[in-house]
């Protein structure tokens, strides 16, 4: 977890008390760097997410439970503590075997999440594969790709275009679902997508162009927000 408030830094004791109330007494709060903490919780928490106490959690449901725990933690910090923070959550580990690797992964996840997904505050390592890959590409190669792909990079500074495309990709390129999510008429969405096609020469309704636009959007966030 990393705190992002500009002036305040919570004391270890205060934070530990809140987290113990929230998670359980069986947790460990480890300060890593300034405003950065590692929270180790017991795996019993995953079972507690289940509807009934006795229910065993299936392996496939672990990620879902972890996401809800992390989202709940973020919500609790925001609502009850009154601060803004970023939370990354990892899959269960045996600390003596892989703590260092887990910390590195979580830190990287938060960094990637903050870089590529500005509005999001809860990040999962299993959802930033593409971002990790793109982050490793050398700057000149990225810039060349950007230059070759789009003469109109300013398209990605238009909040309406960005929010439209974000929603379009989040809804798996489904026009009707995207329109519903954006509370706009289907025709308005088609008009926006056609406009993008005219101006950037990329039709996001075609699979190949959709991939390129997705990459352009992710790379644009890195290259322009320096």
């Amino acid at each position: 977890m990393s705190e992002q408030a500009e002036n305040r830094e919570p004391s270890y004791v205060e934070l530990e008390k809140v987290l113990r109330s929230y998670l359980s007494d069986e947790m460990l709060l480890i300060p890593l760097r300034e405003r950065e903490w590692l929270i180790l919780g017991t795996d019993r928490l995953l079972a507690e997410v289940e509807t009934n106490e006795g229910d065993m959690i299936e392996r496939g449901e672990t990620k879902e439970a972890l996401v809800s725990l992390a989202t709940g933690l973020h919500q609790m910090i925001t609502e009850e503590w009154g601060g803004d923070c970023h939370v990354a959550v990892g899959e269960p580990i045996i600390p003596t075997e892989s703590l260092v690797y887990a910390v590195a992964t979580l830190r990287e996840t938060i960094n990637l999440g903050r870089k590529f997904h500005m509005g999001m505050q809860v990040h999962m390592p299993w959802l930033v594969h593409l971002e990790r890959l793109l982050s490793g590409i050398p700057e000149p190669v990225r810039s060349r790709f950007m230059d070759e792909m789009s003469g109109r990079q300013d398209l990605f500074t238009d909040p309406e275009t960005v929010s439209t495309l974000d929603a379009f990709f989040a809804m798996d390129c489904n026009v009707s679902e995207t329109a519903k999510r954006l509370f706009i008429h289907r025709n308005t969405l088609l008009y926006r997508l056609d406009k993008l096609k005219q101006e950037a020469g990329l039709d996001v309704r075609s699979f190949n162009d959709a991939i390129l636009v997705r990459l352009l959007m992710l790379l644009y966030k890195v290259t322009k927000r320096k």
Partner: protein, 373 residues
């Protein structure tokens, strides 16, 4: 209970040359239900987050009650927030979810119990108190999130798009529930949404924002009938107001509005105002609400100076009403909302009369409503 006042509030993010919120001035009365509405990126959530204390105020003053709270920590502002995600604490049951904040604030057990049970009764979730969030539906989860805020008995509720994760049917139901609840609690509420229907149906007053600026702050009725500019006029109302660009001319003492397929007389009162302001001979934009286009013969007969003809490109019959997408009027499609029992069909030519008393006229350059300025 308390009102909220924002005085010349600005939000500027480091490294950005443009303010996200500019010179925001607003007085929100005690017990008022105020809605901030606008498109994505207009600054409404940033404004709410500044009130919550989650964003620092770059410039200006924020009052909750009589107290300036710019430097007061969020947890000490006596506010309660409900967010879009309405994430519950997944490992706690509903009772524990609602009690958690009070427990953290060291309230006595019997007081916590009283507040949780009272809120649960208000929200009709008493039977769910033992359940874990996973066993709840979307609407039930949303009510628990509201409950978590209610038990705090705050001075101000802040809600950031709390209904946007719900399906359309549930959203309509929860909309009414929240309105009723806020009336009963008699607490100031600031509610952010990008859905103008939500804004119109819930707010005592609505603030329309665009690009970080307040465009208009008014009651729903005032916004709908007297929008101050083209943006507000187009944003409020569904289907949106029709805009037709054309020219004002004066013929035989009457001021007329002419555009492709349209040649109608402007009513005397409005005409005089346009004359006085020097708009004769100039291009203007006329705004017509879809329901101000009438196909009833009685209305057409009574309005010989505002009759137009158009072809129906598409018709959408919703049963109680019908939307006609008309061709041949101005540059874009014009939408008319007519009676669902009309026998009008696609491809047909239709005669309609404009209710000229209800039109809006905008300056083409400033986009301000000439009749309201």
């Amino acid at each position: 209970m308390a009102g909220v006042r924002l005085e010349h509030v600005y939000k500027k993010y480091p490294g950005s040359d443009k303010a996200s919120v500019t010179d925001f001035n607003l007085d929100i009365a005690d017990k008022e239900f105020l809605v901030l509405v606008g498109p994505s990126g207009c600054g409404k959530s940033t404004t709410l987050r500044m009130i919550a204390g989650l964003e620092e105020i770059s410039e200006g003053k924020l009052y909750i009650g009589d107290r300036v709270v710019n430097d007061v920590a969020p947890k000490d502002r006596d506010i309660a927030m409900v967010f879009q995600s309405y994430a519950l604490y997944p490992h706690m049951n509903v009772y524990q979810n609602m009690a958690f904040g009070l427990k953290l604030r060291k309230f006595r057990k019997d007081e916590i119990d009283r507040r949780v049970r009272e809120a649960a009764r208000t929200l009709e979730i008493e039977h769910l108190l033992d359940r874990k969030p996973k066993a709840l539906s979307g609407g039930q989860r949303q009510r628990v999130a509201l409950g978590r805020a209610i038990v705090r008995e705050p001075q101000v509720f802040l809600m950031d798009e709390p209904l946007s994760n719900l399906d359309a049917k549930l959203r309509t139901q929860m909309r009414a529930n929240i309105s009723k609840l806020m009336k009963r609690l008699e607490t100031t509420c600031i509610y952010v949404t990008h859905d103008q229907t939500e804004a119109m149906t819930m707010g005592d007053r609505i603030v329309v924002m665009k690009d970080g600026f307040i465009q208009q702050a008014a009651t729903p009725d005032e916004l709908y009938n007297h929008p101050v500019n083209l943006f507000v006029a187009g944003f409020i109302g569904a289907p949106a107001m029709n805009f037709i660009t054309g020219q004002l001319t004066e013929e035989g003492g009457a001021v007329r509005f002419k555009a492709t397929g349209i040649n109608v007389a402007i009513p005397a009162g409005k005409a005089q105002l346009l004359r006085d302001k020097g708009y004769i001979g100039r291009e203007i934009i006329v705004g017509i609400r879809p329901e101000d286009l009438h196909e009833e013969p009685v209305f057409i007969e009574a309005s010989p100076n505002s009759v137009i003809s158009a072809s129906i490109e598409v018709s959408e019959n919703l049963g109680h009403e019908m939307f006609l997408y008309l061709n041949g009027l101005g540059k874009d499609n014009v939408i008319a909302r007519v009676d669902g029992r009309s026998q009008l069909q696609e491809g047909q030519n239709v005669k309609l009369a404009i209710d000229m008393n209800k039109i809006h006229i905008f300056d083409k350059d400033t986009e301000l409503n000439i009749l309201e300025a």
